[in-house]
Amino acid sequence: MAINIKSKRGLKLRLKGEAEKKTSPALKSKTYALIPDNFHGLVPKMLIKKEGTAVKAGEPLFYSKYNDQTKVVSPVSGKLKTIERGARRRILRVIIEADDEFDYVEHDILDPLKTDAKKLKAHIFESGCGIFFKQRPYDIPVSAEDVPKSIHISTYNTTPLGADFEYILSNKKEEFQNGINALTKLTEGKVFLGVDRNAQSFLHDTENVKLVKVSGPHPAGNVGFQIQKTNPINKGEKVWTIRPEDVAIIGELLSTGKFNAERTVAVCGSDAVDKQYFKTLIGAEVNSIIEEVNTSKTRIISGDVFTGDIAQNGDHINFFSNEITLIPEGNQYRMFGWLPFKDNNIPSVHNTSFAKLRRKPFQVNTSLNGEERALVVTGEMEEVMPMDILPMQLLKACMTGDIDKMENLGIYEVSPEDFATVEYVNTSKIEAQEVIRQGLDLMITEVG
C-alpha cells in the first residue's frame, strides 16, 4: 500500500522561464570538473596525484579521507589536467580534459536481485556510486560501513523551475528500476520512493519500493519532509537519500558494467535563451550548455533558485545539479521599497503586497529586497514549514550553538534545503540554510 501525504503548508512560487520538455544533447565539453565542496564534509585524498595522467571513465580520482571506501570517479576518460588548490592546499577542483572517444573501466555485470547484499554493496562503492548517497542526519556523504534504516528518493520536485524527474527518467525506466532493485539490498528497511500524487506516471508502477504519494507546495518534494512523514529519524539512526537520476546511473552500471555519468540538465529562468533539457555528463562546463552571459547583469545558478551555487562563465556544473538557472542580478536600488502595496511584481507571501493576486508567473531577481535585521517577525516561518519542526526556535538554537536544544528540536531530521522556504520568506533576511548547515557541522564535531 502506498503512503499518501497531503501537505498544506509551504511555498508555491510561479516563476518565469520554465524549461520546455524537450531534450537535446549539449555541446561536447572540453573539460569536466569534480568539486569536493559539492560533497559537504568530504575531505578529498587524491588517488591520482600527477597532473597529466591518463584516466578512464569511471576511474577513481579521489576518496574521502575519513572513509576510504567512498570514492569519486572520473565521469569521462581523458587526462587529469589540473588539481586546483586554494588556501592551505585545499583542493577546489579536479579538472579532467576529455578524450573524443571514451574508454570505460569495465565492471562486472550483476543482477542486483540475485547478488549477495555484501558483494553488491562493495561493488557499488568500488565503482564510485557510493558518493551518490547522502546520509541523514547531517546531509553528508555516507560511510560504506553503515547499514541505513531506510533509503529515500523523491521524484517529486517542488522547487520553483525545478527539473521534472519524471520526464528525465522517462527514457531510463529500466535502469531506474534496476537501480531501485540494488538499493533494496543496501538497507535493512525499505526503499521509499516519493512520487507526485496527482500525476499519472510510470513511476507509480515502480516495483520493490514503498510508494509515497505526495502533493503540496515546496518543500513537500524534499526528501527531508517525506522522511519525517514516513519513517522519521531518531537520535542514533541513519537513513540514506539519493537523487533519482543517480539511481538510474547505478542501474546502468549493474546492467552494462559501465559508469555512465549522464546528467540531464534543465536550463531555466527568465534570462535563459534556450529553455529546455540538455543531456550532458556530470561536471561539464557551464558554457557547453548555455551561451556566455554578462554576469554583472545575469546570475548563473548551478542548481535551482533555492539551493544552487553561483557559477561564472567557464565554471563547471555541480555534481548533483539537474538545473542551470539564469535570473537577472538584483543589484539595483529601488526607491521607496518600504511602501506597502508597492512593487507588486516581486513575489511575496506576505500580505503587505498585492503580489498574491497576480496570475502571471513572476520575473524574479537576486535582490535581497532589504537588509539583514534582528529576528522580529514571528509566525511567518511556520507558514512555509510543513515538517513537525519549530523553525524559529531551531534556528535560534543553532545560532547560539545550544546542542541539547538543537537535538531536542529535531536537528537530526533537517538539512539546509528544508529551510530554503524559511530563508525565502523571512522578513529579517536571515541566511537560514547557512545557519542550519553550521548547526549540523557543530553536531558532527560535538556528537559525531
Binding site: E371, E372, R373, Q393, Y424, E434
Partner: protein, 390 residues
C-alpha cells in the same frame, strides 16, 4: 531617480569602509535606505527573496495606527471644547489637538531615534526600524496634558532600559511603548490618572468632569456615556485609545496584512469577554457586586485601553509569545487578567497595560511549554522505536 542616487552615493563617500567617517555609516545608511532599498544581493542558498523587509512591516503598523491617531487628535480638541462649553468647528478641534499632540510625537521620535542612532553607531549595526512604531505608540497612549519633558524621559527610559539594555531590537522582554507608559504612570501618577488629566487644559478650569469611564466606575458614580460613544470614541481617555471603531479598523489592516497576529487579537478579546462575563454573573450571585463588576462585559471590551492594547501592544512580535499555540494562550490571558486587574483594583484602571507587561514576562514561559510538547512528541517517538527494535 538616477541623479538622486548619484547625489546620495557622493554624500556617502566619506562614510565608506576605510574612510574617515566610517563609524557613522549606520546613521547615514538608515537615512539612505529610507529612500532606496539597497542593492544588496543574495550570495548563496536561496537566491531569491520575498519582497518584504522589516521597514515595510513596520510602516504597515504605522499605517494601521493612523486612523486612531487622527481621531485621537480631533477628539482631544472635541473633549476640550465640549467640556469647556465653547462653540467650535471641526477644524478648531483638530487644530487644538494637533497643537497638543504633534509636539509630543516630535519629541518622542527625536529622543527615541536619537538614542537608537547612537547605539547603532556605537555597536556598529544598522538602525532597526522597530522604533518607527514605538515612537508613534508612546504619544498615542499618554494623557493629552502630559508635559513634553515627561514624554522625553519616558521615551529615554523605555529605549535605554526597556530595549537597549537587553541588546536592542528583537531582544527586549517588555514592549518598549508600554514600558514608557508604565514608567510615566508610576513616576508621575498625578499626571497619569485622576479626573483632570484626560481633557486638554482641564486643570486650568474648575468644575470639569473629565474622568474616564473606568475612573467614574471606580468612584462608584454613574456612567454618563452610551455604549455607542464608547465604541466611536467620543469619551475622555488617553489620546488614541478611545475609539474602538478605528482601532478595529487598524486591527483589520494588521490582520489582513498578517503583520499582527489574529490569534492574539481574537484570543485577547475572548479572554476579556470571559472575565467580564464571570464578573457579571458570578459576583451578583455571591453578593460581591459593585458598579465595576456589574458593568456589562461588552462595554468592558470597548472602554479603556483594552482594544488598543490587545490590537497594537499585545501583537508586538518581539515581546509576545512566538509559537502559534502560545499566541492563543498569551492573548487570552492578557484579556483575562486585564479585566481582572481593572475590576479588582480600581486604583489601576490601566489593567490592560499591566496585564500586557505581566504576560510579556510570561511569554517565554508559555513558549517553553509549547516547545516542550514538540520535544516530548519527538522523545516519545524515539522510545517507541527503541522498544520495537529491542
Amino acid at each position: 531617480m538616477n541623479w538622486i542616487r548619484k547625489k546620495i552615493d557622493k554624500v556617502k563617500e566619506p562614510f565608506q569602509p576605510g574612510e574617515k567617517l566610517e563609524k557613522f555609516a549606520p546613521a547615514v545608511n538608515a537615512l539612505d535606505t529610507f529612500l532606496f532599498v539597497p542593492n544588496d544581493t543574495t550570495k548563496k542558498g536561496s537566491h531569491i527573496r520575498d519582497a518584504v523587509d522589516l521597514k515595510r512591516t513596520m510602516i504597515t503598523v504605522v499605517l494601521a495606527l493612523i486612523p486612531a491617531l487622527i481621531f485621537g487628535i480631533w477628539n482631544a480638541g472635541y473633549q476640550h471644547y465640549t467640556q469647556l462649553g465653547e462653540e467650535f468647528t471641526f477644524i478648531d478641534a483638530f487644530l487644538h489637538g494637533a497643537y497638543k499632540i504633534v509636539p509630543m510625537i516630535i519629541v518622542s521620535y527625536a529622543v527615541g531615534l536619537g538614542i537608537e542612532f547612537g547605539f547603532a553607531v556605537k555597536r556598529g549595526h544598522e538602525v532597526n526600524e522597530g522604533y518607527l512604531v514605538t515612537g508613534l505608540l508612546i504619544p498615542m497612549i499618554m494623557p493629552v496634558d502630559i508635559p513634553l519633558w515627561m514624554v522625553a524621559l519616558s521615551v529615554a527610559f523605555a529605549v535605554l532600559i526597556g530595549k537597549e539594555a537587553f541588546g536592542g531590537t528583537g531582544m527586549n522582554i517588555l514592549n518598549p511603548a508600554l514600558t514608557a507608559r508604565a514608567f510615566a504612570f508610576f513616576a508621575y501618577p498625578t499626571y497619569m490618572s485622576g479626573d483632570k488629566v484626560w481633557v486638554s487644559e482641564a486643570t486650568e478650569v474648575s468644575g470639569i468632569s473629565g474622568e474616564t469611564i473606568l475612573g467614574t466606575l471606580a468612584a462608584g458614580k454613574d456612567v454618563a456615556y452610551e455604549s455607542a460613544s464608547m465604541f466611536s470614541g467620543l469619551i475622555p481617555g488617553s489620546i488614541s485609545e478611545t475609539s474602538t471603531a478605528l482601532i478595529l479598523l487598524g486591527a483589520l489592516i494588521l490582520i489582513f496584512t498578517k503583520v499582527g497576529s489574529w490569534r492574539i487579537i481574537l484570543s485577547g478579546f475572548i479572554g476579556a469577554a470571559v472575565m467580564g462575563l464571570i464578573f457579571n454573573f458570578l459576583m451578583p450571585a455571591i453578593n460581591l457586586d459593585n458598579a465595576l463588576t456589574n458593568f456589562p462585559w461588552y462595554n468592558h471590551l470597548i472602554v479603556g485601553g483594552l482594544a488598543f492594547g490587545v490590537v497594537f501592544m499585545a501583537t508586538d512580535p518581539v515581546s509576545a509569545a512566538q509559537t502559534m499555540k502560545g499566541k492563543w494562550i498569551y492573548g487570552f490571558l492578557i484579556g483575562f487578567f486585564g479585566i481582572m486587574i481593572r475590576i479588582f483594583n480600581p486604583a489601576y484602571p490601566e489593567g490592560i497595560m499591566l496585564a500586557i507587561l505581566l504576560m510579556n514576562i510570561f511569554a517565554p514561559t508559555i513558549d517553553h511549554y509549547v516547545i516542550q510538547a514538540n520535544i516530548k512528541r519527538r522523545q516519545k517517538r524515539m522510545k517507541v522505536q527503541t522498544v520495537k527494535t529491542a
